[in-house]
């Protein structure tokens, strides 16, 4: 069965629309939900909400700083879910966090709280295929789409197995490295997107190192769209607020539609 997240991305593709999924750290500032709304108003097709964790090993300085700020402001997994419950932005939401948050809450409770909060998908970047079974069993049963990461270091056999396990979309890691703004699009982003597109009809979105509208458009010549994280969060850290996020996503939307 195809879930709400994947359905939305597939229908965008059927309409020849490349997708943009911004990442926003939950609890970053009092108006983070307004930033989510602004991103959707500006053309985001789905939104990834970060539940801050103390030790985000897949994240670079921008998202680390955002996580720290949110945690210091008292953000908890429960508070992020509770706030999401009051939002209906009309596009699917996914949460992105690290495994210990779900593990500590209890996989069952984490998954059902996500569903109760209107969350369709989940990304756990420190849960590779080999460790995914306990979580995926629960997520499949409760109805959370588990978005799997596929990295340039994987061989073809591994990519095929990751793609088979992926729900929602396949998250193509654009480069060797952690999240963060880069000046140039890495050649590896086009390559991994191409390798994945050749073996799946599930939506393939490239994230990590996609920082500008131009880079988003360039990589979307191959991929079905992009995840933009640090570039969005940096605007919030710089105090540009929901308006700044809306302007940036609007520019990405325009570049993808051009």
């Amino acid at each position: 069965m195809i879930g709400a997240f994947e359905t939305a991305l597939r229908s965008a593709r059927s309409a020849d629309r490349k997708v943009v999924v911004p990442y926003i750290t939950g609890g970053l500032g009092d108006d983070w939900l307004d930033a989510v709304r602004a991103a959707v108003d500006a053309g985001a097709d789905a939104v990834e909400i970060g539940i801050p964790f103390s030790d985000p090993v897949m994240d670079g300085p921008t998202i680390q700083a955002a996580s720290d700020l949110a945690l210091r402001a008292g953000t908890t997994p429960v508070s992020v879910f509770a706030q999401l419950r009051h939002v209906d932005v009309g596009v699917p939401l996914a949460v992105m966090t690290y495994y210990n948050i779900a593990h500590h809450m209890g996989l069952e409770r984490f998954a059902s709280t996500a569903v109760d909060s209107g969350v369709a998908g989940a990304i756990l970047p420190d849960v590779p295929l080999e460790e995914s079974e306990p979580w995926c069993d629960v997520a499949d049963r409760v109805g959370v789409e588990t978005i799997m990461l596929a990295a340039p270091t994987a061989d073809d056999d591994r990519l095929a197995r990751i793609v088979a396990r992926a729900r929602g979309f396949v998250y193509a890691v654009g480069l060797l490295g952690v999240t963060g703004v880069r000046d140039h699009l890495a050649a590896s982003s086009l390559e991994i997107a191409g390798r994945l597109k050749a073996i799946t009809d599930k939506p393939v979105l490239v994230g990590v190192g996609v920082s500008t509208p131009l880079q988003a458009a360039e990589v979307s010549t191959v991929a079905d769209g992009v995840v933009v994280g640090s570039a969005v969060v940096q605007r919030l850290l710089d105090g540009e607020g929901p308006t700044g996020v809306g302007e940036f996503i609007g520019a990405v939307r325009a570049a993808l539609d051009a």
Partner: protein
């Protein structure tokens, strides 16, 4: 029971695994295969033995302690890892991993360090083998262990401050892993303890088991018997895993000693960070807590997964000691035996000293995992 190999997916009972970003998984498979191959290759083993003997100075002695034993009413013998080249047991693991990295065609080593002992050992092995070396160290630790920072630089390593979070060992591990994700193709992550994703907890234990194997032979040949108790300090737990592995199949009681401010095993709440499921200090929401201890080398909120397993099945026992007890033990060994211990093994001695009533009449083997030179400056500030 013996300390056996983990499952093919790297689990010791309910603990272990490989919880890392997808990018690193192929490197972990490659490392595991390379280690299995090397560990079964007599040429690799001979090469490592040669380095351990003629470079690191093994076997390390077993020292009986008349004056200490008399004062405590407990017969204590020391496994002298403090006499190894670079001053601690860390060199055993590092020489193994550096040889392995070279065999795998890697040209750079990246490492994390707490007190600096693992960083110094890694920088040493890198210099020996002509490899590039990058060490991540918490900003707080760089300040309290500045001598080791200078040592690493002298050895040609690049020392980078981990400025995030608690700015100690936990954050140095985060930074080393983030760095590794970006350079995984030509760089080996030389992890310093029996922690992290599979195969590290197993591989590091195997490189450290030389401590236990030697100590067992030495106890039998010098004392004519096996110890009743084997005690070692536990941060990540590599020196403890090394000495325990020589005695796990005997009747000896195995005791791991944690700092009160970094007592992952004693608190016994499982969690997942830095690549494995193990006991982990965390708050009610699953955020990792900052450990707090006088010893930078034990300032770690987690513990290697095999220790969690040994605790869960009751094969090893874990105790905690306070900073004040450690300071006293540090002075006790200096005064009675003329051996200035590192603050880390002083934790194990502090427990022996406190438990002397219970231990009266027994033979206790203490793994003296490192020497105290690095801590003298800090202790001068405390003792005046």
């Amino acid at each position: 029971m013996a300390m056996t190999d983990p499952t093919t997916r790297g689990w010791f009972g309910d603990f272990g695994g490989r919880f890392v970003p997808e990018t690193l998984m192929p490197a972990l498979f490659e490392l595991e295969a390379a280690f299995r191959d090397a560990w079964n290759d007599p040429i690799f083993r001979a090469e490592l033995d040669d380095l351990l003997t003629h470079y690191a100075g093994r076997p390390s002695p077993l020292t009986t302690c008349d004056r200490l034993s008399e004062e405590l009413g407990v017969e204590v013998v020391l496994k002298r890892e403090d006499l190894n080249h670079t001053g601690s047991h860390k060199i055993n693991n590092v020489l193994g991993q550096a040889l392995l990295a070279r065999r795998m065609g890697k040209t750079r080593l990246v490492a994390e360090t707490g007190a600096g002992q693992h960083g110094v050992a890694t920088a040493t092995a890198a210099a020996l083998m002509g490899m590039e070396c990058i060490v991540y160290m918490g900003e707080v630790d760089m300040a309290r262990q500045e001598l080791n920072v200078f040592r690493m630089r002298l050895l040609g390593a690049e020392v980078t401050a981990a400025a995030s979070g608690s700015r100690t060992l936990k954050d140095a591990v985060n930074e080393a892993m983030r760095h590794w994700v970006a350079v995984v193709e030509d760089t080996h992550y030389c992890l310093g303890s029996v922690m992290g994703p599979h195969p590290y907890p197993w591989m590091v234990r195997e490189f450290q088991r030389v401590i236990g194997d030697e100590a067992r032979t030495q106890c039998l040949s010098r004392l004519g018997r096996l110890p009743d108790v084997v005690a070692a300090c536990v941060g990540g737990g590599s020196n403890a895993a090394g000495i325990f592995s020589g005695f796990a199949d005997t009747d000896a009681q195995l005791v791991g000693v944690e700092p009160a401010g970094g007592a992952a095993v004693t608190r016994a709440v499982p969690g997942v960070v830095h690549g494995s499921r193990s006991f982990l200090m965390q708050d009610e929401h699953g955020q990792v807590l900052e450990a707090e201890s006088i010893s930078a080398g034990l300032d770690y909120p987690g513990v290697g997964p095999e220790h969690s397993h040994l605790a869960a099945i009751g094969r090893a026992r874990y105790e905690t000691v306070t900073d004040a007890e450690v300071i006293e033990a540090f002075q006790l060994l200096s005064r009675t035996e003329g051996i200035i211990p590192a603050l880390e093994p002083a934790h194990a001695l502090a427990w022996i000293s406190r438990a002397r009533g219970e231990l009266a009449g027994t033979l206790v083997l203490l793994n003296l995992s490192g020497r105290g030179d690095k801590d003298v400056g800090q202790m001068m500030g405390i003792l005046g």
